[in-house]
Assembly symmetry: C2
Homo-oligomer: 189 residues x 2
């Protein structure tokens, strides 16, 4: 399984690292030794809103061959949803069978047309903005609708990561990873 | 207020980004506009255990003038605790009035002598290893003992960040930041 972890300039670091930690443990803790990922960007320079830099593994390459796409949110998403070139790049992920987002990352999935007719969620402050892209905005922390999984605000990135771990590798694996992360809560999708 | 956020090779990314998110919001959300930080390393090349790269702002510079020191954990800490040059560098933080760690970062604070005679915590799998450095190992998620604040495993980095936000800027600020992070729990120190 090969995952594309999208990064973009002015993203929120925890939106990315929150799902990255549990998902990368599928490999590092040997639950899915074949689980691989690439950090995929549309531009070379990627920093969070406070100048914390992230280095992409690939820039501008097609996303079509991945098995999983995960898109974080952050201030940058507010303008990127209207950036035709970025959205055209994101649309190369159309064949990816499982797509996910954190926080305002769902605005990007929405702008690419992936949320049409579906229920979805985002940061509570962006519910109105998301509503133009999907059938129904919900306040669940993680929404899984026809292989499009959206999560709420920043911290829910960890909920999303653990949800995807469970979906890909089962409840026991999720429990083991949550224990190693010292995560004391159980948050359902 | 000027904080030193330590990074080191083979650290756990979420150990760092977990406290970085709430603490950096002290500035980005205008609660403490003068809150500044530097990402401080002892070596140029810093990646987490899965090759996610972090760029330090300063390398090998004295930590003595900072007001707050925060040290993440991760596999690298297991060898760094025995690395005399690294520990000598960390000891330059001796005058820093408030020091904190996440997960096995407490082994590094311990090796620098900062935990002598104090209660402290770490990842549950490292309790025995920590015991040689401190008076008592506890299983609290966040322990604040004489201005040395230690937190448990990976995820408790967020608890630590929110705890430090409350200590530096009060309960209301913590509540506002937790709300913006969409953090649904209240975890006491």
């Amino acid at each position: 399984m090969n995952a594309a972890f999208v990064v973009f300039d002015q993203m929120t670091a925890l939106d990315f690292v929150g799902f990255y930690d549990p998902l990368s443990r599928l490999k590092s803790m040997d639950f899915m030794p074949g689980f691989q990922w690439q950090i995929c960007s549309f531009c070379d320079d990627v920093s969070d809103s406070q100048d914390l830099r992230f280095d992409p593994d690939s820039v501008g390459q097609s996303l079509s061959d991945f098995d999983l796409l995960v898109v974080p949110g952050g201030y940058g998403s507010r303008s990127l949803q209207h950036n035709e070139k970025f959205i055209d790049w994101l649309k190369t992920a159309t064949p990816v069978p499982l797509k996910a987002s954190v926080c305002t990352g769902s605005l990007l999935l929405g702008a690419a047309g992936f949320l049409k007719g579906k229920r979805a969620t985002t940061h509570p402050k962006a519910y109105a903005e998301l509503s133009r892209y999907c059938a129904q905005v919900t306040d669940q922390r993680v929404v899984d609708e026809d292989n499009i999984v959206t999560a709420r605000g920043v911290f829910s990135s960890i909920d999303l990561g653990l949800y995807l771990v469970e979906r890909l590798a089962g409840k026991e694996t999720r429990a083991e990873i949550a224990k190693q992360m010292d995560y004391p809560f159980y948050s359902k999708g």
